[in-house]
Amino acid sequence: MVTKKEHILSLLREVHDPEIPALDIVELGIVRDVRVHGKQIHINITPTYSGCPAMQMIQNDIIGTLNKHGFNDVAITTVYSPAWTTGWLNAEAKQKLKEYGITPPQTVNEAVVTLPGSEMECPFCSSHNTELRCEFSSTACKSLYFCNDCCQPFEHFKEI
């Protein structure tokens, strides 16, 4: 039997990060907790980066999605601890990123922020003849690389 909490979590998988539509907010690790008290649903979320501009839209989407399924009493709290880490992305989520054209984050060491070297596999042609152009890209969570073989720029979901 599916509990109400599991049901809510499955509904939240309909909400995607507007900047990385390949992933939903549950597999991205943004949803930290769901508590159900009768008709009231309380959800804790955490930002990927402090300044992530998608957070407001994600909150609106959570409320909109749950309203659509008949849950009208929804409260959302932003929590900061524990700090979001790319270590929460599982193998399936990483594969989805890769198929979407973003190289997935490598394993991170919790104790130290490991900053990756410049060698990264091109998601388009699998070449390793690539170079880091900038540690920041179209969003804070990605860095910008260039493939010297297929001459395509690509993004890397950076470790944090």
Partner: protein, 266 residues
């Protein structure tokens, strides 16, 4: 103290949070001024992203300051409806951007400080602050690496880039002293075990900054002891609301929309 609501310590905690929040808000605003003007596209994106991280950190910290204060002030109220003398940011972060070398040197000095401070504060017993600091630590590690690489590139680059970087460091040095001085506000929070001991940050900062400046072949300016004597021109007092004239101009631009249309919504 878990929730920061203990009346006797509330003011000192709010004061500390304003210092943290205002540093990040004002530097974030300064960096955002580069948007569309940076020397290369990648750098435009990098500075805008770093600005966004800092604004995000400021937003979370000022939100917390408003909560602790308990006067129903939001992070937006604190950002847009305070006067210059009520801001507690360092003079370092409010200085105009200058050239690219100046912006990078300032970012390097602040990021080194931010990284050390967040590393300590993520062990704070005050959970909400510890969480925000843990994020700040990770984000500032990227800011630090990015600005450090530019320090090396410009310092060891052409004759012109080296000269500009040396000038930037010379000009900025007098603003770095007060960054490393903690007063009764931090001491009181340490005494209450709200925050860990910050006393090692100054020497760690000096060591880290000196190592990079040396590698960048930049001469480290002489730092006179904080003697209060005329002649060393080291700035002080910004933690108590004393600022350069530049902050007023910055705030005029940053606050005009919110003050002209107080109920404006995106």
């Amino acid at each position: 103290m878990k929730n920061g609501s203990d009346h006797g310590t509330k003011n000192v905690l709010v004061e500390f949070l304003l210092r943290l929040g205002d540093d990040r808000l004002i530097l974030g605003h300064r960096l955002s001024e580069w948007c569309g003007h940076a020397p290369i596209l990648e750098e435009d994106i990098a500075l805008a992203n770093i600005a966004l991280d800092l604004l995000g950190q400021a937003s979370a910290i000022l939100h917390l300051a408003g909560d602790v204060e308990g006067k129903n002030r939001t992070e937006d109220d604190l950002a847009y409806f305070r006067e210059a003398t009520q801001f507690k940011n360092l003079q370092l972060v409010e200085q105009p951007n200058g050239d690219f070398a100046f912006t990078i040197a300032r970012l390097f000095f602040f990021s080194t400080f931010n990284n050390l401070l967040c590393d300590v504060l993520q062990k704070s017993s005050y959970e909400t602050l510890a969480g925000i600091a843990a994020k700040g630590f990770k984000e500032s590690s990227y800011h630090l690496r990015h600005s450090k690489e530019w320090m090396l590139r410009l310092g060891g680059g052409t004759e012109e880039s080296h000269r500009r970087m040396q000038n930037a460091v010379n000009e900025l040095w007098r603003f770095t002293g007060e960054m490393l001085v903690f007063d009764e506000v931090e001491t009181e929070l340490q005494r209450l075990n709200t925050i860990p001991d910050l006393s090692t940050i100054a020497s760690q900062w000096s060591g880290a900054a000196a190592a990079v400046l040396t590698e960048a072949t930049i001469i480290i300016p002489f730092r006179q002891k904080d003697s209060g004597q005329a002649g060393n021109h080291a700035v002080s007092g910004s933690r108590h609301g004393f600022h350069s004239e530049y902050l007023g101009h910055l705030l005029a631009e940053m606050q005009i929309l919110a003050r002209s249309y107080p109920d404006a919504k995106w």
